[in-house]
Amino acid sequence: MKNLKLKAARASLDLSQQELADAVHVSRQTINAMEKGDYNPTIRLCLAICRVLGKTLDELFWEEENDTST
């Protein structure tokens, strides 16, 4: 399932995938894989991303049952 919330939060801060990746010490491909839904990050990485984007875990990673962002 694509993580459109993450992508939207990143875009709202005008950050590229590379810039976000550098901020949380991962590769750009890892951020890309998370946004495409190909990789489920650990809680540690989720928290690091939340801190950089100024969002909560719920706002970025909680999936509602009727979430249709596939």
Binding site: S16, Q17, H25, V26, S27, T30, L45
Partner: protein, 180 residues
């Protein structure tokens, strides 16, 4: 021990010394910059490398079984030791290609171009060494593959890695799903 074996042994020792020195220099540099050694690969890369290690182990096991069956059925095809050592190449190839395709071969700080150059150079050197051996007719001894057969096989391996890295770099340059 003959001169040829001394040559192999020297090559082995020099290669190991080069790898150890490179590792030591990198570790020292990272310590100086205050970077944790484990930060070299991110969590997704570590996971991908773990899977690649599994595939490489399976490849090595499969090679050893097939080699044993073939050697039993048709008799030995290589000098003692050569056939076993040969198994390192397909296993390494599977590991490296899987890592390259999964963006898990190089660390966050390394540049793919360095590896492209290294792979290309190694392939050229090994193929040149193989060409010399073919010219001298020393690839086979008494109808059995000699240690010198490792050079062309190694050359082919690094040629494959060179191609995989080149394709990966081209794919990355073309975007690879980067969506601002």
């Amino acid at each position: 021990m003959n001169a040829e074996m001394w040559g192999f042994l020297t090559g082995l020792v020099v290669s190991l010394a080069a790898v150890c020195t490179d590792s030591w220099v990198k570790r020292r540099k990272q310590k100086k910059e205050g970077v944790d050694w484990d930060d070299s690969f991110d969590e997704r890369q570590k996971l991908a490398r773990g899977k690649a290690y599994g595939s490489a182990l399976f490849t090595l096991a499969a090679y050893l079984v097939i080699n044993a069956v073939v050697s039993q059925a048709a008799g030995p095809w290589a000098q003692p030791g050569v056939d076993s050592v040969m198994g390192i190449f397909p296993a390494t190839g599977v590991f490296a290609v899987q890592c390259i395709c999964g963006d898990a071969f190089i660390t966050l700080r390394e540049k793919p171009r360095t590896y492209l150059f290294l792979f290309g150079m190694t392939a050229v050197v090994q193929i040149l060494a193989a060409a010399t051996s073919f010219h001298e007719g020393t690839i086979m001894t008494d109808g059995l593959a000699d240690w010198k057969l490792l050079s062309p096989v190694c050359g082919v391996l690094f040629l494959v890695l060179f191609g995989a890295m080149l394709l990966k770099m081209r794919r990355d340059r073309n975007g690879d799903g980067e969506e601002a």
